[in-house]
């Protein structure tokens, strides 16, 4: 006894040290809710790009703002006031609402550098024939409604370079202007497009930006109280998902703890038992978070959400201890001998199942695996080695033998349900087989914690705005700015051909605003010296209704352009094009990257094969379809997760075989679990819920939790009946688990909901199948 006692004290001390260590680690832990959990640990080049874009890319920094309600003039006025306020805010790289704010600087940049910027500037363009053709075009334009534009600049720009540059700049579809501000097509909403300086993955900065927008609106909206502000964009999504996840995890843990505590209080009728019973849970939760923090450097909000559900599972061990050994200390020693091995095996099967998740390339899944293993091991260990020593000598819980006896009678009669259960199982098998192709949802969007309403708002605002969804990108890599710009120019030439063939509606390139030095020099060299140009021009005007003398300003400008200093990135400052170049030209450590977003023709997807063919043979050039890439990434995860789960199942079976050395016995244990998994899958399919990765994690949990029940029902010789108090403990254990996970089923975060709807019914089914298919004892119920 003293010996045991000394062991007990050592265990308690070690436990306290362990808890302190966990708390220490957790206090330094970084919690995230961003997309990091869904991004691969060892990405391919395409995936790396996808990740960079999701985190910091142009699209990640956009916030789309809509102003609804009130009337059109009020909305436009609000838009202008908000824009004016936010343009002064350094958090925003740009604020666009259709007002021509940078227009003068943009115009000057383009006009003053037109001979360096225009892709039409080639030696042929300034030959006699080239000049003749270009002049003819410009004169044609004079006859058009746009003629008023070119009239004033014709003497300086007879070849029409400025018109060409403006056309190129204006390639994207722009929203309508109503009362001088952007508005949706139906006119019901004013629109604004903002770009934050901070990246989309900087959720705090995104939240500050949203607050700034809201404040600007509130301050401006005084006069028009009926106006409403709506916002969307990747940054907005990460802020709202963080809020949602935070709120839900907090609420779920509170409700879950309350529910389980109430349940346990009803069973135990003792506060000290409740408090002691929660110790393993708390230890498990701390161990889980600390382990994930150590293993991954950060803990995702979803992992915490999962943790709240695991409360219901971790509490099982103390239930087993208290209920199964309700009498006295000696009985508890007895419990350790008789029942602990069963529980230990249950914990080991759970570990075997979850260990497979650790191998996942999907960090979110690996986190869940590690959390579950660490949490369950800690909870079980504390129950086994610490809790018994903490129990007071006279520790008792409320007598539950009456419940146990009732259960015992039910279980005896449970085999009457064998045939109906077999029928249900057969039906479930058929459903699963018939629907096998639609069981899984392989779209990454299924994982998104963003609500459907928010997704619809986003789609509406995007459609109104004609905002780039940046789905298709050509990516050019290189060692320095010059080299990526050079390659971008070659790619642009190919893309232009595709635009002319109608394969593309358009594309964007940083080289449009900042041509490579080589290109700029080549364009300068295309301009003949002044006497030569004058001679050619005199010839070129032959047959055209203009006099050569008119173009003296052109000769001056061309002569200037030949000697003009080449454009540098700094020259773009203060123009609206600086933002485009910043977003499209990225330096990462030693590497430079240029992004060329493509626009698909209306209503059609871009033919990736044609594009790859067109870009074939260009080194350091990559075509990426971001949507296909992310879906492929996710369906890769899904396949991997299915494989790993099957691996987990094999590990569990192997473990049981190793312990029992009897295939029949193992089959008897595994069969009810498999039946529960199949039935739950069929049920989800019937309800039209396609499974995502988290359903799979749920199924794994069903196996892990259910294995405890199956092991208790499994006895080497069928003549020993199952003790009523064991039955009672299993009932309580399954109720707490159902309470913990059942709550998740009501979450509107899809990944939490997925686990909830799988585990809660699965655990009940596992218990029922185990009871129904357990070998019946020949003898009647023995004494308790």
């Amino acid at each position: 006894m003293t010996h045991t006692r000394r062991h007990g004290i050592t265990a308690i001390v070690l436990w306290l040290i362990f808890l302190l260590a966990c708390a220490g680690i957790i206090s330094r832990t970084h919690f995230t809710t961003d997309l990091s959990a869904f991004l691969p640990r060892s990405p391919t080049p395409e995936q790396q790009l996808l990740m960079d874009q999701l985190r910091d890319g142009l699209a990640s920094r956009l916030i789309l703002v809509g102003i609804e309600g009130a009337d059109a003039p009020a909305r436009a006025e609000l838009s202008k006031q908000i824009a004016q306020r936010l343009r002064a805010n350094p958090a925003f790289a740009s604020v666009n609402n259709g007002e021509p704010v940078d227009a003068e600087r943009d115009r000057a940049y383009l006009f003053d550098h037109r001979y360096l910027l225009s892709p039409a500037v080639t030696p042929e363009r300034f030959s006699e024939a080239g000049l003749h053709a270009a002049l003819g075009d410009s004169i044609d334009l004079l006859a058009s409604p746009a003629g008023l534009l070119v009239k004033s600049i014709l003497p300086r720009d007879p070849t029409g370079e400025m018109v060409l540059l403006l056309d190129q700049l204006d390639s994207g579809a722009q929203p309508n202007l109503i009362e001088g501000a952007w508005a949706s097509r139906d006119g019901a909403r004013a629109l604004m497009l903002m770009q934050t300086r901070a990246s989309g993955s900087d959720t705090d900065a995104q939240q500050r930006a949203m607050t700034a927008i809201q404040q600007a609106f509130d301050q401006a909206a005084g006069a028009s109280a009926s106006a409403r502000l709506v916002m969307t964009g990747p940054g907005v999504f990460s802020v709202t998902s963080r809020d949602t996840i935070k709120r839900q995890v907090t609420r779920l843990s509170i409700i879950s703890l309350t529910l389980i505590s109430t349940l346990l209080l009803l069973v135990y009728r003792s506060f000290s038992a409740l408090g002691l019973g929660l110790l393993p849970v708390i230890s498990g939760a701390l161990a889980g978070i600390a382990a994930v923090s150590l293993g991954f450097g950060e803990v995702h909000g979803i992992t915490l959400g999962f943790g709240t559900a695991l409360i219901g599972e971790a509490v099982d061990y103390s239930i087993y201890l208290f209920v199964q050994s309700e009498q006295n200390r000696a009985d508890r020693q007895n419990w350790l001998k008789r029942h602990w091995p069963t529980i230990r095996l249950g914990v080991l099967t759970s570990i075997a199942g979850f260990a497979s998740l650790l191998l996942s390339g999907f960090p979110g899944l690996a986190q869940l695996g590690l959390y579950a293993i660490a949490g369950l091991v800690a909870a079980a260990t504390v129950t086994r080695f610490v809790l018994p020593s903490l129990l007071p000598a006279n520790f008792r819980i409320h007598d539950v033998s009456a419940i146990g006896l009732t259960l015992s009678r039910w279980v005896k009669r449970a085999d009457a349900l064998r045939w109906p259960a077999l029928l249900v199982l057969a039906a479930a098998c058929i459903i699963v087989v018939v629907n096998r192709d639609s069981l899984w949802n392989d779209k990454i969007a299924a994982l998104s914690p963003v609500s459907q309403a928010d997704v619809e708002l986003d789609a509406r605002l995007r459609a109104d705005m004609g905002a780039p969804d940046v789905r298709y990108l050509v990516v050019v890599s290189g060692a320095n700015r010059e080299s990526v710009l050079r390659t971008s120019e070659r790619v642009s030439a190919q893309l232009q051909t595709l635009v002319e063939q109608g394969e593309l509606a358009g594309f964007e390139s940083p080289s449009r605003y900042l041509p490579s030095t080589v290109m700029q020099r080549a364009r300068q060299a295309s301009l003949p010296d002044r006497p030569e140009l004058e001679t050619r021009l005199a010839q070129a005007v032959q047959g055209l209704p203009v006099r050569a003398e008119l173009f003296t300003p052109f000769l001056d400008d061309a002569a200037t352009a030949r000697r003009q200093p080449l454009l540098q990135a700094a020259d773009l400052q203060q123009t609206s094009m600086a933002m485009a170049v910043d977003a499209l030209l990225i330096q990462q450590k030693q590497q430079w990257r240029a992004l060329l977003p493509l626009t698909a023709p209306e209503g059609v997807d871009i033919n990736a094969d044609h594009l790859r063919t067109a870009l074939d043979g260009m080194p350091d050039v990559l075509f990426v379809d971001m949507k296909a890439e992310s879906d492929r990434l996710y369906s890769g995860y899904l396949k991997e997760a299915i494989g790993l789960s099957l691996g987990g199942l094999v590990a569990i079976i192997a473990l049981l075989l190793l312990v029992f050395r009897s295939p029949v016995r193992v089959l008897r244990i595994v069969a009810p679990l498999a039946a529960a998994v199949i039935t739950v899958t069929a049920g989800l399919s019937l309800l039209g819920q396609q499974m995502i990765i988290l359903h799979l994690v749920g199924l794994l949990l069903v196996v892990a939790v259910g294995s405890n029940y199956a092991l208790f029902f499994d006895r080497p010789e069928p003549h020993t009946p199952i003790l009523p108090r064991i039955l009672a403990s299993m009932l309580f254990a399954s109720l707490t688990t159902v309470a913990g996970f059942g709550l998740l089923a009501f979450s509107n975060v899809s990944i939490l909901q997925a686990m909830g709807v799988t585990v809660a019914p699965g655990v009940i089914l596992a218990l029922m199948y185990s009871a129904i298919f357990a070998r019946q004892s020949a003898a009647g119920p023995s004494n308790v």
Partner: protein, 196 residues
Amino acid sequence: MTRSAYLRLAALAVLTLFLSPTVQAAPLSIAQLMANLAKNPQGAASFTEKKFISILEQPVESSGELLFIAPARLEKRTLNPRPETMVLDGDTLTLERGRRKHVLQLKDYPEVAGMIESIRATLAGDRKALERVYHLALDGDSERWTLVLTPLDAKVGKVIARIRMAGVKDVVRSVEILQADGDSSLMTIEKLASPQ
């Protein structure tokens, strides 16, 4: 040149179009001319337009088709030298040239709106709308008449000095626009078979 300035100018040039067939009778009074013009709900015509631009030695010519559907739709489809379309419908002006398409709201360009409204108003016989922006002067008889519009609005006056429409009976035959900078354009109109 900013995009909006570009569009504004382009829209201004819409001016160049108007026209249209309509009406019977040779009114001596503006009221009578308007009443006659108002009778025709739509008309189609071909046009030839000459622009006299100071920097060019010769006028530039374009031609195409015009369509007016009362009360608010006006289409100008240029076929030569370059295909180009301009459609004014209600308050929305759509410009298309090559693969480029621009849509803008007239009321965002008050000076353009004033002018276009007045042309459309002439074709529709809407005197009230016309007199909101222009001073009207009518000359001639019901066989041959000339209507001269002089801008009252200063914004319009900055671009347009005067518009002179000549007609025979119920049909507008020519529209001459004198711009404030001295350039001018003359559009002559041949009525096509009325789609009526």
